[in-house]
Symmetry: C2
Subunit: 233 residues, 2 copies
């Protein structure tokens, strides 16, 4: 199951703590996107995660739970992605929380469906940055070295640069891609129209569209068109 | 080169900050051990590392540098092992130092000869514990969950339990081995005679003998006999 992500260019990310109408959800799930990721940085509970998952399940689209809270793990997702926040100042967000979750659930964790994301949060105002006390005062060389840590030291399947609502530095992202070989490059942040989606999709392996869903659903849906431009695999 | 470690059951670990006579070094390097690791937790400099490496190089034995200080990296070792201290309280010893070293040297690092060690330090009095502010108040379930983090989250090639001079809890180590599949299990600490070496070698894939070299060279050399007991690969 894990290797399926290699074919994914576009993912919509839904936040259990935000409201979405049935109509908008139908548009997202039928858009042609490769997968729906469920995740957020605050207000995530078992109840709102389960509720959103149940609604998405009506569509035949791969589902991912991005785990941020061990009390909000809902069974049934196709994949589980576990963020390791590489630029967190506190070891809690690199291994502490993870070790405790594994201590509790290690015997029953479906490892064949679990992927780790080496996460770098670059927007100083983002909730994830504040929650994890991440250092965003990073230059290009810092980000490239985190990418190399992800691939070479930790052999993680995903390197995820998240600008959370702000569109990133494309020249820098292009250089990130150059230092990655086996690790898949996810980019998220500020993709709110097809132009930005195309720019991001040219440098990252997979783009994540989140906030745009809640701000302008039609523009968000248009970002799926990047798939027509990508090489078929 | 990296896969060679799968055949290693016994490693002698030499500390550049400790004196060893030519006679004792000859005994160690000609003992039949699988490799010589060079590393320590304090007083490691480029000069003492280079000096020890030059002396070992006279023998035809695989050499490993366990990197703890980016100013003491000597070129020419067969393998470089980079410890990631999983139970460190400070992110510096999990990724901080590593990220800065990669930022500086990433372009020229010989990745094909570099292995990461997922390190858990369990002796509260050990220098490495103090330097990394590692939490050693861990029960068996904690150690097993760190082992799973090493293999399942970080896909690291080595899980290294280090008791630093104290002989570990064999029943616990046996359970560590059970949760590891691809990740190789290194054990070090308190192996100062053949009996302890045999006990440790029955549960770990590879045992590391360090302090005993400096305390009783003859007993240290005897620990290599565990290789006669191990299945040939």
């Amino acid at each position: 199951m894990k290797s399926i992500i290699k074919n994914w260019n576009h993912i919509f990310k839904l936040d259990p703590d935000k409201k979405i109408s049935d109509d908008h959800l139908a548009k997202i799930c039928s858009s042609g996107t490769d997968a729906i990721m469920v995740g957020g940085s605050s207000g995530i509970t078992y109840e709102n995660t389960y509720d959103l998952f149940s609604r998405i399940q009506q569509y035949s689209i791969p589902t991912i739970l991005e785990v941020s809270n061990q009390d909000a793990i809902v069974i049934g997702f196709d994949l589980y992605m576990i963020p390791i926040v590489l630029n967190a100042s506190d070891a809690e967000w690199i291994i502490g929380n993870h070790q405790r979750a594994i201590k509790k659930y290690g015997d029953i964790m479906p490892w064949e469906n679990i992927l780790t994301e080496a996460y770098v949060s670059l927007n100083p105002d983002a909730t994830v940055t504040k929650v994890t006390n991440a250092s965003t005062d990073l230059n290009e060389e810092d980000v490239l070295s985190y990418a190399r840590c992800a691939e070479q030291l930790f052999h993680m399947p995903i390197f995820y640069v998240e600008y959370s609502g702000v569109f990133g530095n494309i020249a820098m992202l292009k250089n990130v891609k150059k230092v990655l070989t086996n690790t898949q490059f996810f980019y998220g942040g500020g993709i709110n129209n097809i132009q930005k989606a195309l720019m991001a999709a040219k440098v990252a392996d997979t783009i994540i569209v989140g906030n745009a869903i809640y701000n302008d659903i039609e523009l968000a849906i248009e970002t799926v068109k990047i798939k027509d431009e990508m090489p078929k695999q």
